[in-house]
């Protein structure tokens, strides 16, 4: 079971003088339970790819398969939709109901589930994002703080119980604690339900910390995909694409430049563990 991108190309305004390839010949697979971080500049094709995986755009070349269902085919697409949850940038702008509980229930209700099942899902989802039903269920979504609104919007997607959760910059505009709450929620959801996560982010630190695999996009092409250790070793490549390395990588490089033999590490914990251990033996 997986999302498979098979040589996917998408051209905006195909056939016109303004036609432009947003993504070209992408081959990528997201296995069940994966945590894939997607990084790249504005205009690298990340958001187009998100829409292709959610079936909102149809590829102009190649195929997108979700658990074997071809999103290019209308019937199969309909069957695949509930398996993929999309969270767009600033999802709180899409909150619209009178109460948080109603807003979270909107998706599952439309799936045609029984009312008891809808309510059970709403309760679970709200619990997961840290907005307990009994305290927040009857509140207006518009009375929530920025971070809470974001979590309410996330709960609406989680309540659909997708097998694949795809998030486009889910932490943008949030304060540090809000960012952390969202990241922990996503990681917790994955652990609890086993769903796969695809997260587009500009924060190298967050991607380094949470992703199992990283895909690097540039000008619509997949430049490299691999484990964080592999990706962050490609210092020169990332720099040439205008991407900043996470602080622990840069610190490790600065120490190597001074003659210290630092292994490839990309998280704060790993670098600290190495340096502290080294201190004991010297």
């Amino acid at each position: 079971m997986a999302i498979q991108l098979q040589n996917v190309t998408y051209i905006y305004m195909e056939g016109s003088v303004l036609s432009q390839a947003a993504v070209s010949d992408i081959r990528l697979e997201i296995q069940e339970g994966d945590f894939l971080g997607m990084i790249g500049h504005t205009g690298s094709g990340k958001s187009t790819l998100v829409q292709l995986m959610g079936g909102l755009l149809q590829p102009t070349g190649g195929r997108v398969l979700v658990d074997g269902l071809d999103l290019g085919d209308k019937k199969q697409r309909k069957a695949a939709r509930p398996r993929v949850g999309l969270v767009f940038q600033y999802p709180e702008y899409q909150l619209f109901e009178e109460t948080v509980a109603k807003d979270v229930a909107y998706g599952p209700h439309n799936l045609g589930l029984a009312p008891e099942e809808v309510e059970a899902r709403v309760r679970r989802a709200m619990e997961l994002v840290g907005l307990p039903y009994d305290r927040f269920g009857e509140k207006s979504p518009f009375a929530l703080s920025g971070g809470e609104k974001r979590r309410a919007a996330l709960a609406g997607v989680i309540a659909m119980e997708p097998r694949y959760l795809i998030l486009d910059e889910p932490m943008a505009g949030l304060d540090p604690m809000g960012r952390k709450a969202i990241l922990e929620t996503i990681a917790g959801l994955r652990q609890e339900t086993g769903c796969a996560v695809v997260m587009v982010s500009h924060s190298m630190e967050d991607v380094a910390q949470y992703a199992q695999r990283i895909a690097v996009l540039h000008q619509g092409r997949l430049v490299k995909a691999g484990a964080p250790g592999e990706i962050f070793q490609e210092e020169a490549l990332l720099r040439s694409l205008g991407l900043e390395l996470p602080v622990p990588c840069r610190l490790a490089a600065a120490l190597r430049a001074r003659g210290m033999d630092v292994p490839p590490v990309y998280t704060e914990e790993a670098l600290a563990a190495f340096l502290l251990e080294r201190g004991k033996h010297v």
Binding site: H41, T42, G43, S145, G146, G147, A172, G173, L174, D175, P176, M177, G178, K180, H202, E205, G242, L243, E244, P246, V247, P248, R250, L251, A254, L255, A257, R258, M260, E268, E269, L271, A272, L275, L276, R278, G279, V282
Partner: protein, 273 residues
């Protein structure tokens, strides 16, 4: 010089958004105002050019009281604001017209406007885009045009209200570089931000929490107050956090603000062992 004297503000029927805040910002300072969502930092920013008027207390800009409507125009010419969403700030269909919009409304002669527009676009590195349509620009480029529009007004103070929040890393670097240049030229810059690594670049950091000012000082002294920052819903910038992690493990490193400084401190420390 901007002075807030016991300023409080509250939106309709809500808790105080600003609660008895007093501070002053001298000419030429580069200041970051940080705080969690809802801490009052944007409310404070809007007090700096009379977009909001204090409920209690006083805001003085070069001695002009913002509560006096007679002063509003003079204050707005002194203090320019750039907001978060680049799409909400550009009003015309051509970049240079947008930059000229402010000075035109001041009734400045056209030759002088031309000069100001050219200078302002050069200051943000957007000369080549003078005749382009704003909607064809990236978010970072739009923000640079919005800054140019403010510069064309010849302000003494530039307030950036989370102006980098919606930008990608490149756009953010570009805006920060411009901020550095303007600061060197003597313009007072006040950055409202949630990015602690941006705050680390400023001379002074003011921390708000729940409408109160909880810290005010240079980055090194503010980041040394980890407990207060955490209570205020904030985090240390990654480099400082890394140093703190090593110190918690038994090293004794000074507080470092950038990667090179921290690498050197770790290197010195390990040489002494």
């Amino acid at each position: 010089m901007i002075t807030l004297d016991h300023v409080s503000y509250q939106y309709d029927r809500q808790d105080a958004a600003l609660n008895d805040v007093s501070l002053s910002i001298a000419d030429g300072e580069l200041v970051a105002i940080v705080g969690h969502n809802g801490s009052g930092k944007s409310t404070l920013a809007k007090h700096l050019n009379a977009l909001l008027l204090p409920y209690a207390g006083k805001v003085l800009v070069d001695g002009l009281d913002t509560s006096d409507p007679e002063n509003t125009l003079a204050i707005r010419q002194k203090v320019g604001m750039v907001f978060q969403n680049p799409d909400n700030q550009l009003v015309t269909t051509i970049v240079e017209e947008d930059v000229a919009f402010g000075p035109e409304n001041l009734g400045i002669p056209s030759g002088e406007i031309r000069r100001r527009v050219d200078e302002a676009l050069a200051a943000v590195g957007m000369e080549a885009f003078a005749k382009k349509a704003p909607h064809m620009l990236s978010g970072g480029q739009k923000q640079r045009v919005a800054i140019a529009g403010m510069l064309a007004m010849n302000p003494q103070v530039l307030v950036l209200d989370e102006a980098t929040a919606m930008l990608d890393p490149q756009g953010r670097r570009d805006v920060l570089e411009i901020v550095g240049r303007l600061h060197k030229k003597g313009i007072t810059v006040i950055m409202i931000t949630q990015h602690m690594s941006e705050a680390a670049l400023c001379d002074r950091i003011i921390v708000l929490s729940g409408g109160h000012m909880v810290l005010d000082g240079p980055p090194r002294s503010v980041f040394a107050q980890e407990d207060i920052l955490r209570k205020a819903g904030l985090d240390l910038p990654p480099v400082v956090r890394m140093g703190a992690l090593l110190n918690a493990g038994g090293m004794s490193l000074p507080l470092c603000l950038d990667v090179e400084e921290l690498a050197e401190a770790i290197w010195q420390y390990s040489c002494k062992m």
